[in-house]
Amino acid sequence: MSEISIAGTPAPDFTLPIAPSEKLTLSELRGKPVILAFYPADWSPVCGDQMALYNEILPEFESFGAKLIGISVDGAWCHQAFAENRKLKFPLAADFEPKGEVSRRYGVYHADWGISERALFVIDAEGVIAWSYLSPIGENPGADGILEALENLRT
């Protein structure tokens, strides 16, 4: 695997589907902090999974003006079903075609398994990576690091 993109470097721009007929471009979110949460797959078999947890914490992320985007290699229809099932209130981007391309550009693609790693990026309002964290793939990283990074953006 290549190296994870690190703090101080510009966040690689991308355009990915967030619904079967809707796309999101990272650079269009300039002016606000963005949290990118790469994760291995929809439908992990626990109720407190990473995306469900972030859904609970969303108001706290939003209090920093931050926008959260989940990203995995699952397709837009799969994301849509997953988001409906878990009642997710933030977009899930489909890094589906070419598969894992955006994950690769952030250095967080697990080529052997064909999935994204569990990796977090906090991008500042100017589009520069302020903080990044690569979690062991089986370990949900929680949200403490994200909140600390958002706090540090303010100081």
Binding site: V46, C47, G48, L53, A143
Partner: protein, 175 residues
């Protein structure tokens, strides 16, 4: 990363001695099936380690997926205000599949608590602030789902099963 950021204090619900060599803290959700599965595991750990381990429970209701999780946490806190927190804690996990206002009233009455007062407190959301404070503290500590255990302040990343927790507790230096 991911250490308990809110120290255990006398405002916590604790079973055992605060000066025990090991403090096990659980962030849990009464409607979470994995927490219900962990409930007898905690009991077994307490039996296994006796006075060496004290146990603290804090609320982490995942309200988006579990609509009864927060009311259930409020029911436990209501009982706690009358010194019956742990009795209600057990009853809630044992009756997880039947959650609803009727069950909550029945459980309150079975513990000799005033179910009319419970209803009023649920409506007034008397205990909500405490539960949200638990939740916010959990988020800051790296709680990453339910149940999340901390052993002497360090997050347990292994499975929440008996063997894994025994192993982790035995390998934890006394602080």
């Amino acid at each position: 990363m991911s250490k308990l950021s809110i120290a255990v204090s006398e405002t916590d619900h604790m079973q055992g001695d605060p000066s025990a060599g090991c403090i096990l803290v659980e962030y849990g959700d009464y409607e979470c099936p994995h927490c219900a599965a962990a409930h007898p595991v905690v009991r077994r750990l307490q039996k296994h380690f006796g006075e060496r381990v004290s146990f603290v429970f804090r609320n982490f209701p995942l309200t988006q997926v579990h609509p009864w999780a927060e009311p259930a946490a409020e029911v436990a806190e209501f009982a706690g205000a009358s010194g019956k927190f742990w009795e209600m804690h057990d009853l809630l996990f044992e009756n997880q599949r039947s959650f609803g206002d009727r069950l909550f009233s029945e459980l309150a009455e079975s513990l000799g608590l005033d179910s009319a007062q419970l209803k009023a407190d649920l409506e007034a959301r008397t205990y909500r602030a405490r539960i949200r404070a638990d939740f916010a503290g959990g988020v800051r500590s790296g709680v990453n789902g339910t149940p999340t255990f901390f052993i002497n302040g360090k997050r347990h990343n292994g499975s929440p099963d008996f063997e894994s927790l025994v192993h982790a507790i035995e390998g934890t230096p006394v602080v």
